[in-house]
Symmetry: none
Subunit: 232 residues, 2 copies
DNA sequence: CAGTGGTCTAGACCACTGG
DNA sequence: CAGTGGTCTAGACCACTGG
């Protein structure tokens, strides 16, 4: 009574786990699977699609389907600046700036930051590395009033959060924590698969004068955890 | 050149965002979408499937497809009772107990709880529902010393966390927050796909006398977020 | 060039829900 | 009972990769 695509998934998963399909090796093509299991290609394809979504396989058009790398594991405690957190763990910190521009707010950004559509914004995108492995992808929108010299600042030498605190002391922060699947852009920045869950932290930061920035921080679920201690 | 299923997704997303498709309302059926957009049902279905995977829609066989509730928010800094959280949002709370037994600690459990291997433990597994949709899967290991009457307690009437607090007041809690892919067991408990990311909260709770329990709380990433406000 | 994955069709039968 | 979503078929044409 079980679905046939589920049987194919199960068979492939078994082969991955027992090593018949090694990491990085090529899986049978969709047509081969269809023939082998006596189903139509659409059904074989569904099995493969779900395994891709789950992070077990990678597809490349024209080339084939491959077994994805197994994901590394790490842990971390985080409430402060990412560079000191990494340094405190004894790892080497470095950053790469992907985007550092001035732009005009579109409708979404305007509503998120409470500014008029078309108003000026600064946009910053930085990947933070621990021992050359991406640990955080930071996408930050900044109100220009609190960011003098933004466009020529060197954000590999100082994090955005330290830079902003120096300009206008941080007084409040609203935080939202989610588990999400990464967009393609996040995948590329963090060098992860589309199926790998990410810990996403969305944070609005405020100084005494009001909203300063809106940051979205993406972390590979397998390499980052948030810890905290509560006392009552 | 764009894919047709993507056009349908886009159209549905627009209707969700501008309110034409209100939260909880029924979307057009797959057959209706197919006819309206001039595609086959399989293509319309793909658009709907991806929106379901992304947490925007909910499907119920035989009944239809509905716009999902906007995602609830839990608190980052407090240990809040899941039943009150759900009730405060105006949703109906209920719970189902999957496991409620006494057992002997294996090596992992012993090290997690700091007891001897083979020592007695209580194990509790409960699914917490908001309006009959699973919101949290609780797996909890409890030290019997702090859980009198555990085996015959009715955990659908009172949460484990309330029950334990009554026996020994909660004084501390260590918390770890992660984004993970669900195990098969978690998938079944939460009725989600293996590819859907989960927000996992691991928590050790302490009373004045020491460790009381170790809880792992799994939430569908698409239906649960943690929020918090910091002031400095 | 043969083979791959990406998209799509126009049907089909089923399990399930609600009235 | 009519309508819904769940699964599946046996084709098709396309863009793309590799040899």
């Amino acid at each position: 009574m079980g679905a046939r695509f589920a049987d194919i998934k199960q068979a492939l998963l078994e082969q991955i786990h027992n090593g018949e399909l090694a990491m990085g090796s090529k899986t049978p093509s969709e047509n081969q699977l269809a023939q082998r299991f006596g189903v139509s290609r659409m059904t074989a394809r569904r099995a493969v699609t779900e395994l891709v979504d789950e992070g077990y396989l990678l597809r490349m058009q024209g080339a084939g389907t491959f077994v994805a790398d197994s994901r590394p594991v790490g842990s971390m405690f985080a409430v402060r600046a990412i560079d000191t957190e990494i340094a405190e763990r004894g790892q080497g910190y470095c950053a790469r700036v992907l985007c550092q521009t001035s732009m005009h707010a579109d409708a979404d950004q305007a509503s998120v930051l409470g500014v008029e559509q078309g108003g000026e914004l600064y946009c910053l995108e930085v990947v933070h590395f621990a021992d050359d492995i991406p640990l955080q992808f930071e996408q930050r929108l900044i109100l220009p009033a609190w960011a003098e010299g933004f466009l020529s600042w060197d954000f590999t030498a100082q994090t955005a959060s330290a830079y902003l605190s120096a300009q206008a002391p941080l007084t409040e922060a609203d935080t939202l924590i989610e588990a999400v699947l990464p967009t393609r852009k996040v995948c590329e920045a963090l060098a992860i698969n589309q199926g790998e869950p990410c810990l996403k932290i969305s944070r609005r930061t405020y100084s005494t004068q009001g909203l300063v920035s809106f940051a979205r921080l993406y972390h590979p679920g397998s390499r980052y955890r948030l810890g905290g201690h509560l006392a009552f």
